[in-house]
Symmetry: C2
Subunit: 438 residues, 2 copies
């Protein structure tokens, strides 16, 4: 029987989870593949993390991840170091030494994917990253293989558990953003510095990868529109509910003409559609294709074990895709799923040009014929008001909550600017996207 | 560039859809795989179906599917004939002629899978069947590859669009079963003879395949417990709703001790869980694994285009998994995903021994202390009544609706038998399974 020799760099939560999985389900994995698997090396800067590991036969422990790569017998290098500096050098070194790479590092691939995938292609090895999006949900595989015969027309996702937990709890238990965030921290869903999650960047890393998978193009990460949930007010969560919507931090990508939308922003979606029922820290990705229609993939988006499931499935894929004719897992580069150098850069449409419905909450002075006057200004800018709700505030002003028909954000912004010039707005208005399908 | 030469047998809805897809998305498929694909032969007994096909360059038309197999250049045979007789011979012939097979035929594989997969293994070819379960949803791939590192602990599915449409409409619009069925027929969801769908056998074929995929064992199709939705009464749909449940035709499979549950039956599931929101003709499969936790896959379960998406993805997989080193798509049998001969038969647990909650609707005579008397009989058989609702009927009798705690169906049956002996039941009771997770 042939042997797959694995090196794991980084023994944080996911690293330990992966080790647990490869130990617990070793026989199952080996039987399925008819290959023996062995963890040959572990690298971790923090030596304390080696304590308590079950003794691994013939497994070398390194404090320096690059030393692990010096073992020529290791044919699969698992990068779970995180970050973009050491991790990037590690992946590049591994690839140059003709080792296949498995990583869960979305930030790294979102920003440096082009360089890394092209390097992998030149060296005839694979970089697999199922674990980087949606935890154990096999969404990368669905896009690369299961739906490969389709032109992808739309991808929408709830792909950050922390923000989904916060928004779900705000709605369910009428909590303020701050209370829900504090709770998420206490439960360990949110980091002490939760910015990467809350401000949407983690979601942006993932939708960037999903866009590349869906459209076979590289995108410049900085071109992605990112808006997090820090500004979301319970008031808006409750108005949304009243209108039959829920607010979710949605990531979208789709072709728009010759460009592509890639956006991350809090969005009102109808509470009756399936993805609106994705609650708590769960993740889901909707994918539509020209033949398959609408599909959806759901599961735990994070955590040691679900992520380990994805890492291990990538390891199995490498073994499966590697030539069985040679003992050392050489791949035919023609089989490389990432046809790096064939992919070109894709243009990203400006956020202002994206067409959608909008939710607006405006604080205005009370006056006769208020709704007619406001509506007429929106009409000037081709914004159709579809639903209108007004409520008197304790300070004598009026809160107007509007749902618009589909139009570009540009038109909304122009309307609001005009309302500002007319001194009708007493506060900065709240503007949120509305999508009826996701 | 190498060429994949495809023969398609059967030009019904799915056959035509597949041809449409392979024509429309040819360039996309070829670019992704770096292989040229060509439909080399089409077989269809009904010659009228050849009319109106766009001229296929170098494509031979056959009235006899077996003649198509005589073309030695065809390396992938797509079986879309349906049924279990001609289709079975066709698949066997194709395999013996060392052609890979793609099929959408769940009945064939559920009943003859063992024979066919073992034959394929002996001949070093693949039989792929993504299209046979859940239309275009890549659920076979998820089980075979995406979740391959997990021990699967539970699979639950809504995998028949017709019955799901009927049950959804009964609830949404308070329709009787017959009205909803007639509507499904008019919309083309249900066949003129809808028995295969309505009586649960289509669902049973699919859960049988899912069980084999999940547990790597063959099961005798006749051992699967199958109950369709013909007996489902609007009254029970409405009582279920009142209790916070929806009735769905659920398929379940899971290990129970050394045996396996494989069942198909109408089941009450909580209306708040995700799969309860799978409405109309849509399908969904829940899969839980020891590491990945709970995942769910959703999409159109039938139709020409979604099914064609799955057929084409199987064709692409064969090309991907076939050795690129040879021109004619020989596979290394070691890569065969179906390790047929390594799989053994699995035992199926008797339905009466399966433990679940139950919904019971009993028609009884009115009498003092009714609830105490009835409850005490259930307690004798270790059945705990968790919720109790009673309503007077116009004929002076009482309708009792009960939800029980988890117990074996055997205990329920014994309790009801006892109630019958005591002459307390005025009608055959309604017994439905209740599952709180799916």
């Amino acid at each position: 029987m042939k042997e797959a020799l694995i090196g794991i760099a980084g023994l944080g939560t996911v690293g330990k989870g992966t080790l647990d999985l490869l130990t617990a389900n070793k026989v199952k994995i080996e039987t399925g593949l008819d290959v023996s698997i062995k963890v040959k090396g572990l690298a971790e800067a923090d030596q304390n993390k080696f304590k308590g590991l079950k003794s691994l036969e013939d497994c070398s422990l390194y404090s320096d991840a690059f030393e692990l790569l010096d073992d020529p017998s290791i044919n699969i290098a698992v990068e779970l170091i995180g970050g973009e500096t050491v991790a990037k050098s590690f992946v590049k070194q591994a690839v140059k030494k003709k080792k296949h790479v498995v990583t869960a590092n979305k930030a790294l691939l979102a920003k440096h994917g082009r360089e890394l995938f092209e390097l992998a292609r030149e060296n005839g090895v694979l970089i697999k990253y199922e674990a980087s999006i949606g935890g154990g949900i096999p969404i990368v595989k669905a896009l690369q293989e299961g739906l490969a015969a389709n032109n992808i027309t739309f991808v929408a996702g709830i792909i950050n558990g922390t923000t989904n937990y916060i928004l779900s709890e705000m709605e369910k238990r009428t909590l303020s953003f701050d209370s829900a965030l504090n709770e998420a921290k206490e439960l360990g869903y949110a980091e002490l510095d939760p910015s990467l999650d809350i401000d949407g960047f983690d979601t942006a890393h993932k939708i960037s990868l999903l866009a590349s998978l869906a459209f076979k193009k590289y995108f410049v990460f900085e071109n992605i529109f990112v808006r997090g949930i820090r500004g979301i007010n319970l008031t808006d969560v409750e108005y949304a509910k009243k209108f039959g919507f829920r607010i979710k931090l949605m990531a979208f990508t789709r072709p728009v003409g010759k460009q592509f939308e890639i956006t991350v922003e809090p969005t009102l979606i109808p509470s009756k559609i399936l993805i609106a029922h994705v609650d708590g820290a769960m993740n889901a990705v909707s994918v539509s294709g020209d033949f398959v229609g609408h599909t959806l993939y759901y599961g735990q988006g994070a955590g040691a074990f679900p992520t380990a499931s994805a890492v291990a499935s990538d390891i199995m894929d490498i073994i499966r895709l590697s030539s069985h004719k040679t003992g050392n897992f050489e791949t035919d580069t023609g089989q490389s799923v990432e046809k790096g150098s064939l992919m070109v850069g894709g243009g990203v449409i400006a956020r202002e040009d994206i067409i959608s419905g909008h939710y607006l909450r405006l604080k205005v002075c009370d006056e006769p014929d208020l709704s007619t006057k406001i509506t007429s200004i929106f009409i000037e800018y081709n914004v159709k008001i579809e639903r209108f709700f007004q409520e008197s505030d304790s300070d004598g002003s009026i809160s107007l909550v509007l749902l618009t028909g589909a139009c570009a954000l540009r038109n909304i912004n122009q309307s609001l600017e005009r309302l500002g010039q007319l001194k009708r707005l007493k506060e900065q208005p709240v503007v949120l996207r509305v999508e009826t399908e996701a």
